[in-house]
Every structure is written in C-alpha cells, then in structure tokens.
C-alpha cells in the first residue's frame, strides 16, 4: 500500500504552484513541465474516481451519502497504488456523518498545506470565480458556503471549504497525520528554502541544485507564459486567466478599509498566528485594534 500525500489548501493559495514545483522536481527536465501534465494524481473530489471505485453513480447520491463513502474510496485508492499518490484537495479537513475523517490517517502519509494571506486570497478568488469582491469576502469569512449548489452536475463532487480560518485550523490542528505547512509568501520570498523543505518533508530525495531548477521551471512568469500559449484546463470558463498576478500584497490596491476589516474581524487570530498581522500597518487603527494579542 502506498499512502497518499495530500496537497491541501484553501483555493487561490498556491496549490497549483506547489504542484508545478513538485512536477518539475520529479521530472527534472530541461524544459518546464506542461500545465496539463502537472503529473499529480488528481483531485480528491474527482467524480470519475468516485464512480469507478465506489461502483455507484455519484450523480444519484446525496452529498452526505457521497461523504460516507469517501474515506473508504481513498483507502482503496491507496491500497491499489504501488506508487505514492499526490492528491490535490481544497476541502477543509472534516468528518462524515458517521464520524469518520474524510481523509483517513490509514490512507495518508502526510499533507503539504499551503496557506496565503486571506486578504490576497479574497482578491484572487473574485477574479477566479468572476464574482464581486464582497461576494468573495463572503466566502472567505464563511458567510457564504462554497459549492453553493449549481443547478447542474459539476465534474467534481461537492467540496466544502468552510471559511479561510476554519480551513486552516482544520488541517493544521485537527488532521491526525503530519501536516507540513508552507506559506505562499515564503514561496515568493524564499523559494529555495521553502520548496526545498516541502520536498524533504514529503520524503523526496533532496538535492538543492534540483530544487533550484524546479523552482525556475515553476516560476510564476513561466506558468503564466505556458497558460498564455496553450491554455490551462483548470481555468474556469469565466476567469480571464488562471495565473493572474502571482504576488503578495496586491490587496492594498483592491480592498477598501471596510473590506479589510471584515476579514480581520473574522480571521484576526489565525492571521496573527501565521505571520499576517505584521503586514497590516497600512490599514486604519480600527482594523489593527481588531487583531488579537
């Protein structure tokens, strides 16, 4: 049995970038890996996987019925794979109605958990989903549910993000297996150290020169150019680009003080915990006062 390595994050937090690094690290080719060949083994909420391995059409099942099968689905996936499986997941870590962890420890080696400042996440998410900033903030603070039912069948199963703060603590504090945390901002500022540490944590043979090559091949500009040339299957139809800006701090030009305040009110504590309070000196005193500690 080869356990699963979950590549977990709230959406728009650097999951694809990490997967691009891992794909380039694995292939160590002279050219960057194509976007459609990122080579990780799929997304946890892939409908076809479910239908194939569970043996039922998920389109005939209620969401809670699907969740009941998910732990065993992942166990069967792990059992049937001779090689380690790298699986992307955007769900918050959680449990089904029977009390079983959706992502069972029995099938898991570890999770690589990527997080990003929720202020930047909100801005990125609005472009990705082509929704208003306020609607995006509703999602980030948990006042709107993700995967709000569309009136048709999505290619993926329902996945529940919960709020940004709940998502972070669900993986970092609740998951009953090792979780290696990396911040998007550190991937930007200190890529060799940050990506290298992730590779080591995942049990890959560590080679600093190889890390450097993979970092270069998964640089934002490289990914954006690949998308420009050939498209990217993960870009939603309504989004202009998947790889839009690739920087941190863009929220300063996009969010009003009231919008910043909404997010800090909801997530001040985890923001402080993960080092996002220090960058907020440009905002008003009221908002700073809402930060705990």
């Amino acid at each position: 049995m080869s356990p699963i390595i979950w590549i977990a994050s709230y959406p728009k937090s650097g999951n694809t970038w990490l997967r691009a690094f891992l794909a380039n690290y694995a292939s160590d080719g002279s050219q960057p890996v194509e976007l459609d060949d990122l080579g990780t083994d799929g997304i946890a909420t892939d409908r076809d996987w479910f239908d194939e391995l569970v043996g039922l059409e998920s389109s005939n099942l209620l969401d809670e019925e699907i969740d009941e099968y998910r732990p065993e689905l992942y166990e069967l996936l792990a059992e049937s794979s001779p090689e380690p499986l790298w699986i992307k997941v955007h769900d918050a870590f959680g449990y089904n109605a029977a009390g079983r962890a959706l992502f069972p420890a029995t099938a898991t080696k570890l999770a690589l958990y990527v997080l990003r400042c929720p202020l930047d996440v909100a801005v990125s998410l609005r472009h990705h989903l082509a929704i208003s900033l306020d609607r995006s903030i509703d999602l980030v603070v948990g006042e709107a549910k993700s995967g709000a039912r569309s009136p048709g069948l999505s290619r993926q199963l329902r996945h529940d993000w919960r709020s940004w703060g709940e998502h972070v603590s669900s993986w970092v504090d609740e998951a009953p297996f090792p979780v290696h945390v990396l911040r998007y901002e550190d991937m930007l500022a200190r890529p060799l150290e940050t990506f290298g540490a992730a590779a080591r944590a995942a049990g890959l043979a560590y080679d600093p020169a190889r890390v450097a090559r993979a970092v270069a091949h998964s640089h934002f500009e490289v990914l954006a150019a690949l998308e420009q040339a050939k498209g990217f299957v993960e870009r939603p139809a309504k989004a202009e680009k998947f790889f839009r800006e690739g920087r941190s701090g863009g929220w300063r030009h996009a969010l009003s003080p009231a919008q910043v305040d909404r997010i800090i009110q909801a997530h001040g504590e985890p923001m402080k915990r993960f080092g996002y309070a220090a960058g907020l000196d440009a905002i008003g005193a009221d908002s700073r006062a809402n930060l705990p500690g």
């Binding site: 409908r47 076809d48 569970v54 043996g55 099942l61 019925e65 048709g152 139809a237």
Partner: protein, 308 residues
C-alpha cells in the same frame, strides 16, 4: 420458489424482458401479455459479503454469478444469474430511491449477467435505426434525449442503453420511458421544472421527465453511437472514431464496466461484443464544450449525420 411471486406481483417489460416485481415500479412500462417472467424483483435478506468475490469496490462485489451492491442509506441489492434481484431496504429508505438504484446499477449488472451489452447512454430512434449518446455523467446524454424527444423522436433509453449484440445486427430494446435531467438542462431546453417530480427526494435539482413510450418489445438495429467529449472547441464537431480508439471508447462507456472484471466469461465475451458493435455501427465523437453549445447547431449536425 423462484417462479412464484403470487398473483399480486406487478409485471413490466423493459429491455425486452418480462419482469415480475414485488415492488411497484411506476417508471416501467406495464406488461400487457402473460409471458413467463424472465426476471424477478423481490425483497428479502441479502448477505453482507459474497463468498470469494473476484472484484470488490467500495460499494460492490462481483463473482461470476452474482453482484452485491450496497447503497448504504438506501438498500442492498443481490443480483443473481441474470434472473433475480433481491432488495433489502435500509431502515428509513424511500421507495423512489430504492428504484433509482434497482433500475440503474442493479439492472445494469443483471443485463451483464444475461450476456447483453449495456452502455452508459441514452438512445433515440431515427429513420435509419437507433442512435445512442454516451459519455460521462453531466455531459449531456439525457439533455440530447429530451431535446430529440421534443422534436418527435422516440426515446429508447436514458442512462442505460442495452444492446443485444448477437444475431445478424446489434439491436437495442427500449428501457423505460423517463429521462432524468438537471435543472440547468431543463432551463436550456425551456422546460418548466415546477410540474416534475424529483428523481430522488432531497436530491435537489434533478428531475424526472416522462417521455412517450414506444412498442416495448421492438428491437431496433443500432446505426450509430455518439460519444460526448468536452474539448476546447467552442463549436460542436463530429469526428469518426475507428480502430482501437473506438473499441476503447465503447469499453469506457460500458455501463457498470467495473463489475465486469468479476465476471470471468462475460468479461471475455464483452471484448467481442464491443468488437461486433464497432463493426456494425458508426462510432462518432461529439467534440465541443458541453451545455455551451448552440443546441440548434448540434441538432442540425446530428440530424444530418443520422442520414449517413
């Protein structure tokens, strides 16, 4: 004992089979004749596990002669020898949900046991014979069936299109006259959902659209199998599939193909069945972003292709 369900058994015809059922199945066409039943649906106890299954998924197990399908909150179904389905309802399950999986996965497994070739597809009758639309869930098989039904074509199947691959020509026999559609498809087709029943209680946005039934025992030659594929093309396009690609596509679109691996002889026979189908029917890929198509354009393209 297998032959006796008593005078109160309900009788239906579907896929050319006479079915005697303990459960009332309003989705099925009632049987008007008095032929001996081919298949029995009964309620009763089922085992938790089969003995020495050849293949096992999370919710199913298969041997040469039996399938066991466990839909936990609904029922467990024991499908045996292509003749009998025993249903053990879960506590609190509803009759509609029981029938969704009875007439889907369980019946699909039974048709495999009877040596037939069930495809994951809808089917309509054209002037040239049957056209089948296959593809993954949500790609538009039922939408196309409903669309052509509104244009006067007879719908032969929705979701489970069963082919009798033997004889001089592969033929399809009608399933049951209902099409299950999501709300966005209904909107796309300008059909009002408010008068329609849900496919299952609490399964929001999935509805059951009755369609006109045809002669239930008619066997119609299969002329073309269309396979829905999402590609980057914005306009629909039809591409002939040949050779190994066509065989692989038909295998991928076989209903409950995951059960086949447990079936030994039928698994081997399946390979020849898809080969025969490929020999006699055109296999055509429909390329284009599903549900973003201008439907009129696709209809025109397909109606022209039906005449080929």
């Amino acid at each position: 004992m297998l032959d006796e369900l008593g005078a109160e058994a309900h009788r239906y015809v579907a896929y050319g089979l006479t079915i005697a059922s303990e459960l009332e199945c309003p989705e099925l066409t009632p049987c008007e004749d008095s032929l001996t039943p081919d298949v029995w649906f009964r309620t009763g106890a089922t085992p938790r596990d089969l003995i020495a299954p050849r293949v096992r998924g999370v919710a199913f197990q298969a041997t040469d002669r039996q399938f066991l399908i466990d839909v936990r909150s609904v029922a467990r179904y024991l499908v045996s020898d292509g003749r009998e389905i025993v249903i053990e309802p879960a506590s609190g399950s509803d009759a509609t949900s029981l029938r969704v999986f009875l007439l889907g996965a369980a019946l699909g497994g039974l048709l495999h046991q009877r040596g037939r070739l069930p495809l994951h597809g809808s089917a309509i009758e054209t002037s040239q014979g049957a056209a089948i639309f296959c593809g993954p869930s949500g790609f538009g098989k039922s939408t196309l069936a409903a669309l052509f039904s509104r244009r006067g074509y007879r719908v032969l199947a929705d979701d489970l299109a069963c082919i009798d691959p033997d004889g001089d020509f592969p033929r399809i026999t009608p399933g049951h006259p209902n099409v299950l559609l999501w709300a966005d498809s209904l909107a796309h087709l300008n059909i009002d959902a408010s008068g329609l029943a849900l496919a299952r209680p609490r399964l929001e946005d999935k509805y059951c659209l009755p369609v006109q039934p045809g002669p239930p025992r008619m066997a119609i030659p299969v002329r073309a199998v269309y396979v829905l594929r999402t590609t980057k093309a914005a306009r629909p396009d039809l591409i002939s599939l040949r050779g190994v690609g066509a065989l692989r596509t038909l295998t991928e679109n076989t209903y409950c193909r995951r059960f086949l691996k447990g079936m030994g002889a039928q698994n081997a026979r399946h390979f020849h069945q898809v080969g025969r189908l490929r020999k006699h029917a055109r296999i055509v890929g429909i390329h284009g972003s599903h549900l973003n198509w201008p439907l009129g354009m696709l209809v025109e393209l397909l109606e022209k292709d039906f005449q080929t």
